[in-house]
């Protein structure tokens, strides 16, 4: 059985790094992985859905088949909603960082950014369970930089039983992956583990 994780957010939020952390942790535990990490123009403030699939045996498609995500880690609320394409009520859990990044085109066109309640109501039909966490804000207050919100969200997923990996291997993967602010990342991860939603 393959466990499918969709990480999504806005280019520059560290989506790719977060997916590398989880992928490495999975390989440390002896799993096979397959996934996608789109680079290039989409990184410039665009929406970047990153697929990661973990299996005991060889994983084939790098893309998650539609509706088969087990975990959607939404590092930006409306991007989590956009990822519902890959979700279904009977299988998908969500962890959503409630820190909004309003698209500039929405400003120009006067499009409304949906309220938290509206976001919740759009997600609900696609979610088995969902946890909202104001991770980036909490991390900005604590560390002066919202970027650590990603790793905190991973901790939240783990402590809610939404990610079938061990704490140790994730810590090991964080150490191998992050280039700056290692202590902050480890602390943010711990805060995620202790987060009560």
């Amino acid at each position: 059985m393959t466990f499918n994780i969709l990480l999504t957010g806005v280019g520059g939020e560290g989506v790719l790094v977060t997916s590398v952390i989880i992928a490495r942790a999975a390989v440390y535990e002896g799993y096979e992985i397959s996934g996608t990490q789109l680079h290039g123009l989409a990184q410039r403030g665009g929406s970047i859905p990153t697929h990661l699939r973990i299996g005991k045996d060889k994983v084939h498609s790098p893309l998650i088949p539609r509706g088969q995500a087990d975990l959607i880690l939404g590092l930006e609320p409306i991007e989590a909603v956009r990822a519902c394409y890959y979700a279904s009520k009977d299988r998908t859990n969500f962890v959503i960082d409630t820190y909004p990044v309003k698209p500039v085109y929405a400003n120009i066109r006067g499009e409304k950014y949906p309220s938290d309640r509206k976001i919740e109501s759009m997600l609900k039909p696609f979610a088995k369970k969902y946890v909202f966490v104001d991770a980036s804000n909490i991390c900005e207050e604590k560390f002066g930089d919202p970027i650590y919100g990603n790793v905190m969200a991973v901790g939240v997923a783990l402590s809610n039983g939404m990610l079938p990996l061990g704490r140790k291997s994730i810590i090991h993967a964080i150490k191998r992956t992050v280039r700056r602010g290692l202590d902050e990342n480890l602390e943010a991860f711990r805060m995620g583990l202790e987060f009560k939603g």
Partner: protein, 618 residues
């Protein structure tokens, strides 16, 4: 960013991107030289190789364009040194002028040419080109990996074939292979062989007749021999049945994703030029139905139809009747397309579709980074020249100028094409025209267009947006940068000097972050009745931010003075910086997103937006 796992020990299992795996394959093949021009989705191959070249002792360069990069590699390969170049599909168009004849001359050391196609155009806005046609036209053996492990292994195999048959070999990927991540078991790193010698042999290196015909006949014999030797062992068959599936590249993974299929045998085609006739004949003998699953053009399908005519004329062949010729495939698309033939259930998404329709959220398109010099340049040019102008676009981050609020990229065809196209338009029309071309693109293919314009007398305004780096693909150096890919210092080429040497006299060089300088330069340049070149210079802010961070320097940020928000409404609509946020009636600058370029503060009355001085070490 460099992935340290690329250098892990033999036997280790690590996560690599397809492109990183290709780079590792090159390192396991002992390459002595690599030269590339960056292009998504191929860039991480060069990024990885450039990061380790010095350490492992081989040569790497970011060449001025793909043609030059290929020639550099071919020169090394002629001299007996293994070399690799990697490019995106359109890069092969640029390089092809040299690639095709070098296939005739052949090589001594292995020469591998990685070409990354981009069906769906994740990061390409030109066409959905299928490189396999080049393979056929140029008679270039072509391997197609389907995941990261194969990306590494096939690169090694490509070197083996290349050296054994003295012929360049293509490793063809698509975005979903180059940018897929997978578990890869590593092989042994091979010590680079970096020294060679060119041995004169005009009968081989000078394609003049009668050499030409002799080389052509020799090439044909090589291809036949490769087909015989590798066609037999390189492709794989699984399962038993009277229904057959042939798939290549990532499409094979989508077929495997379906799971075991009763009464179906599957062929994985790893070499798509030359396709082994013998392999295909053996595979389709005794089949009743065959499905070919391949993205883009029916290259394999057409070949199989021709073989089936002799071997199995009653075979029912499916391919592009079930599967699209446009865009890229997904696991659900492949499953649903072939489900009726292999007798499995289709996915039913009708319920999901209804729910998805209810979702209403703002669109999110890519956008100029906060502090991007391009935003400032576009803004200034538009202020001076207004809407009624032909805006010629080119390839680089500045393509984002196509979106609101600028809408200043009326067309974008290929690297450097903005200049030739505008020259043509100006020759037949009196319209005002402005060319936007970036620094790296100018060096890549913009120079011939500009010198042509200069000597043939059209007079548009040419804006060279010099952010000091090849930005979009991840900050590679180009001839205008102080350091090369090996980290060595050199005298950078100044764009204005090049432009002057082309006979252009009406030149201005300005600071891209200074609006009044920019706007007055545009006014002056267009006032004169001659070709004007504006070099708008300002470092890519993303790069500046990274450099500042590595030195522990914090960039300043700007904020709107309380009570003066009403002056900032036009910034939201006309300047579109992601750091300037409007929520309800509130307008503010998000401090974590402001990278301190300060251009916004120049567009409002004095004292409305002010700098929060930082600039000190943390």
């Amino acid at each position: 960013m460099f992935n340290p796992d690329v250098l892990e020990k033999e036997g280790k299992k690590v996560v690599l991107l397809g492109n990183e795996a290709i780079a590792r394959g090159a390192l396991e093949s002992g390459i002595g030289l690599s030269a590339c021009y960056p292009g998504t989705p191929s860039s991480e191959i060069g990024i990885t190789l450039s990061s380790v070249a010095k350490k492992l002792g081989f040569y790497f360069e970011w060449s001025t364009n793909e043609k030059v990069a290929f020639e550099v590699c071919a020169g090394a390969a002629w001299s007996g040194v293994r070399s690799l170049t990697a490019m995106k599909h359109f890069g092969l168009n640029v390089a092809s002028d040299s690639v095709l004849p070098v296939v005739f001359t052949g090589v001594k050391g292995g020469l591998v040419l990685v070409v990354a196609d981009d069906p769906y155009g994740h990061s390409s806005a030109q066409s959905e080109q299928d490189t396999r046609f080049y393979a056929r036209m140029g008679k270039i053996p072509t391997l197609e990996p389907s995941n990261a492990q194969e990306a590494k292994d096939f690169t090694k195999l490509a070197f083996e074939i290349s050296e054994k048959y003295e012929i360049p070999v293509i490793v063809r990927t698509t975005t979903m292979v180059s940018h897929s991540a997978g578990t890869v078991t590593l092989g042994k790193l091979k010590k680079p062989k970096t020294k060679g010698k060119f041995r004169k042999d005009p009968s081989r290196y000078f394609n003049i007749r009668p050499n030409l015909q002799r080389l052509h006949a020799k090439l044909n014999r090589k291809i036949e021999a490769i087909e015989r030797e590798y066609g037999r062992k390189i492709n794989k068959v699984e399962g038993e049945g009277t229904i057959g599936i042939i798939a290549n590249g990532v499409s094979y993974q989508y077929v495997k994703e379906i799971g075991p299929l009763l009464g179906v045998k599957t062929a994985k085609l790893n070499m798509t030029y030359p396709i082994s006739r013998e392999f295909v004949a053996n595979f389709i003998r005794g089949l009743r139905t065959l499905i070919v699953v391949e993205e883009l053009e029916p290259v394999v399908e057409d070949f199989v139809r021709a073989v089936a005519k002799d071997v199995n004329p009653k075979l029912k062949i499916h391919g592009k009747d079930l599967l699209p010729r446009v865009g890229e495939y997904t696991p659900e698309l492949v499953r649903n397309a072939i489900a009726p033939i292999v007798k499995i259930k289709k996915y039913d998404f009708s319920k999901q579709d209804k729910l998805i329709k209810k979702i209403k959220i703002p669109t999110r398109k890519p956008v100029f980074c906060p502090g991007c010099p391009h935003r400032s340049t576009f803004y200034a040019v538009k202020q001076v020249l207004g809407e009624d102008t032909v805006w010629a676009g080119d390839v680089g981050c500045y393509v984002l100028g196509i979106f609101e609020p600028f809408e200043m990229q009326d067309f974008m065809i290929s690297m450097g094409a903005s200049l030739g196209l505008t020259h043509g338009i100006k020759k037949v029309s009196k319209q005002k025209a402005v060319v936007f071309v970036g620094d790296s693109t100018f060096f890549h293919a913009g120079m011939p267009g500009l010198v042509n314009m200069s000597v043939h007398g059209t007079k548009p305004l040419v804006v060279i947006m010099d952010n000091g780096v090849t930005a979009m693909t991840g900050h590679q150096p180009h001839p205008g940068t102080k350091y090369n890919a090996m980290g060595e210092e050199r005298e950078p080429v100044k764009i204005e000097d090049v432009v002057r040497s082309f006979g252009v006299k009406n030149i201005r060089v300005v600071n891209a972050f200074n609006q009044s300088e920019l706007q007055s330069a545009v006014k002056e340049l267009v006032k004169k009745d001659e070709l004007g070149v504006l070099v708008s210079r300002g470092m890519c802010r993303l790069l500046m931010k990274r450099i500042a961070r590595s030195k522990g320097i914090e960039l300043p940020t700007f904020e709107i003075v309380k009570g003066k928000e009403k002056y900032c409404e036009k910034l939201v609509k006309e300047f579109a910086c992601p750091a300037i946020i409007k929520r309800g009636d509130r307008i503010y600058i998000r401090q974590d997103m402001c990278w301190g370029c300060g251009v916004c503060s120049q567009l409002v009355p004095k004292g409305v937006i002010v700098s929060k001085k930082k600039g000190k070490k943390k």
